[in-house]
């Protein structure tokens, strides 16, 4: 069933949802959000697109197989944990770098924790889309 209203609004909504998912991911450490929520929001965007158009269209738009995204996310999260080993610290100890930090402030905080959260984002995003695409295809 193709609905003109749905397809038209979806173009706008899906893009917004994807942007919002990244926003939720990045703000997660200090405000509600994070990789898990971000991944779910991002997946919702693509699910909406899948419903409005088709699974084939959505796959084309994503370009990469979602199961690959999930596994890569898992790998990134694992590597983020392992990187603590380089500093001689136990698995999954967060490593931090504070760019442009001025007296007392934390500047632009970069960390392996953020990398880990990106991995979570990708794993959740890819995992959900793997399921949805598999359920949608061939019907």
């Amino acid at each position: 069933m193709q609905s003109l209203i749905l397809t038209t609004t979806t173009r706008l909504l899906a893009a917004l949802l994807l942007m919002f998912s990244v926003y939720a991911l990045l703000r997660g450490h200090n405000l509600p959000g994070g990789g898990f929520i971000g991944g779910l929001i991002g997946a919702t965007g693509f699910i909406l697109y899948t419903i409005a158009t088709s699974e084939v269209e959505a796959r084309r738009a994503l370009r990469v197989d979602p199961s690959n995204i999930a596994v890569v996310g898992l790998g990134i999260a694992g590597l983020a944990g392992l990187s603590a080993g380089l500093a001689g610290e136990p698995f999954f100890t967060g490593q931090w770098l504070f760019l442009f930090a001025e007296d007392g402030g934390k500047g632009l905080p970069l960390s392996t924790v953020l990398v880990f959260d990106i991995g979570v984002y990708l794993a959740v995003f890819g995992g959900i889309l793997t399921l949805v695409f598999a359920l949608e295809e061939e019907i």
Binding site: G28, H29, N30, L31, P32, G33, G34, G35, F36, I37, L40, I41, A43, T44, I47, I51, P66, S67, A70, V71, G73, L74, A77, G78, G81, F91, F92, G94, W96, K106, P109, S111, V113, F116, D117, G119, V120, A123, V124, G126, G127, I128, T130, L131, V132, A134, L135, E136, E137, E138, I139
Partner: protein, 758 residues
Amino acid sequence: MTDDYPKVDRVMGGPAGWISIAFPAVLFLYFLGLLPQIVNGPQVHGIDWVPSLGVRFSVLLDGLSMTFALLITGIGTAVTLYSARYLGQHPQYPRFVCYLLMFMVGMLGLVLADNLIALFVFWEVTTIASYLLIGFNADSAKSRRSALQALLLTGTGGLVMLGGMIILGNVAGTFELSRILQMGDMIRAHPWYMGILLLFLAGAFTKSAQVPFHFWLPNAMAAPTPVSAYLHSATMVKGGVFLMARMNPALGGTDAWFWILTIFGGITAVFASVMALRQTDIKQTLAYTTLMALGSLTMFIGAGTHYAIVGAMTFLVVHSLYKAALFLMIGIVDHATGTRDATVLRGLWKAMPLTGAAAGLAALSMAGIPPMVGFIGKEFMYKASLGLGGFGAIWVTVMIFAASALMFVTGGIVALKPFRGELADTPTPAHEGPWPMLAGPLVLGALSLFFGLVPGVLGHYLVGPATHAVEGEVHEVHLYLWGGVNMALILSLLTFLAGWLLYRSHESIRARLAAFEARNPIDFDAGWDRVLDGFKAFAAWLTGLIQTGSLQRYMAVTFSSFVVLVGGTYLIKGAFGDGLGLATASVHPVQWTVLALIAAGSILVVWTHSRMTAVAAMGVVGIGVSVIFIMFSAPDVAITQLLVEVLVVVLVSLAMLRLPYLPRRSRASFRAGHAIIAAGVGVVTTFLTLSVLSTPFDRRLTTFFETASYPEAHGRNIVNVILVDFRALDTFGEITVVAMAALGALALLRGTARKKES
């Protein structure tokens, strides 16, 4: 092993070959250099591995581990050199080398480890390497079966042994062998001693193939010949013997130890010697003589007197030397003639003089004829058995006499008969083997002679220190070839006589044994298959019982278990608390509205006849719950809940499209049963929630996260900080589950789609 594989052009196995030869050779020289220090006393080195569990990677260098290390690396050099020529052109030779080196590292770790847990890890490494090597000819179903049998049997034994190790570690308060070995009196007097002993022996007996766990070893001969020579005669199967020798100061010396080891060892030795006579395939004959040797070693370690330990340690070295040489010799004969059948091979002496010389030296040592070192080993074993006293003396002497006489016969069958007489027709014409294959057996054979002529060297450097290590105290060890006319010598001469008489009639004995075997109802190998079949049938029965395939049944079982277990615990413990009369006045009117929404959704789920409506109504319930989370200011949980509810509705509706149309089951009893379960879950959950709320809230964790979150983890959102930092490992586990569940569902969906097409 036949040559019917596509050959790859490699000289001596290419780089893999050279690496595999250099590795044990360098280590052998290294250990040889350490030998003079070890003669003066044991050394312990180590680093921490898992300090929180008391696991250290520590090395105990004493006479016992040194003797084993030299055998492993020395025979390892001979075997890798041999393999480079024997298998060097095999397409999978590099893989073979990997397995062999993996085994070598495992075996060295096993004998050198000073920590029980480390010892166990290396023990399992050798088991796995052995599995891979027995199954190296993976095209053959027989190889695969033998490999699996060896893995399951020795692996199970190893796990049982781990139990013994953990108990022993708790009793002794340490896993360090060098300390445990000094607590022998305390351990032997401990009430758990018997349990520890039996668990350890389960590991040792499976690894060293004692009756009734012996049958995997002859089957393991499916491996390429160098593997049989190395793992399944000279080194790995002695792992169990090593363990018994190693644990002797801690566990040995009791009546239980004496009788279990001498009885099982004795039966194994004689049973194996008789079975060796039965075989026509020379490799199988040798496999059974290995069993005989393992039985004898077990018996003498059990006997435990000074002479018994000296005899066992001497025989250990003696056996490794001659048995590896004989196996390698059989490989050369097999390679050159295309057969290993003792009834076919004749007159090889002229065509293969060097092979014959190596075989002769090794077989003389096996038969225990002076001046070979085998004679010394046998003399000391007789001396030890005569010195035992009581029934033990008779038992051990009779067993060792029978085994030695039969060994004499087997020596003749293996190394005398194939080389004497006129050259017989063989599948390929006999010719001498190449030098890399001859070097090993010749050197090993020559060593058997050298140690026989100069027994003092063997006694001073290897047997003496090894005996000290096994006994746990220092005694003078003096090996000699000529001990004067005594009882042991007379027994030796009688052994030769009995052996000679048996050799003359061995063909008729073999025929009779074969006839007996055909009628014998006890077959361990077939019994093993029955045990495995039993396990499979049990698994199938259990799966059929639990996994009915009906989702409704699963749900019913899961939820009624929840009601019975949680509700039952609740009633028995009377955990109602005081707060069940929770004041309703604190509920805000807006919250009442949301609650009404949730209740309406729930009723609709039960009421409706449409699946889609039910799914959507479930979504309404979920969204109501997430609104409540928002009211109680838990935005992260609320957002997640909201998103998950939306996704569940989407996913379940999509799945619904794939479901076949089924007539609705609306039998009253069916619906009533489910209504009872549903009501039970609701009641139990409600009571549970209320009583949790009525207990005072423990804020310790919350306070910790609140205070530590920003200063330590640089984040203000506690929920997220917990997820990605404090409990990152949990999250990692969860996303692994997410990804794996998605992949699993993908496989299932694709699978059903393919079935539909076909």
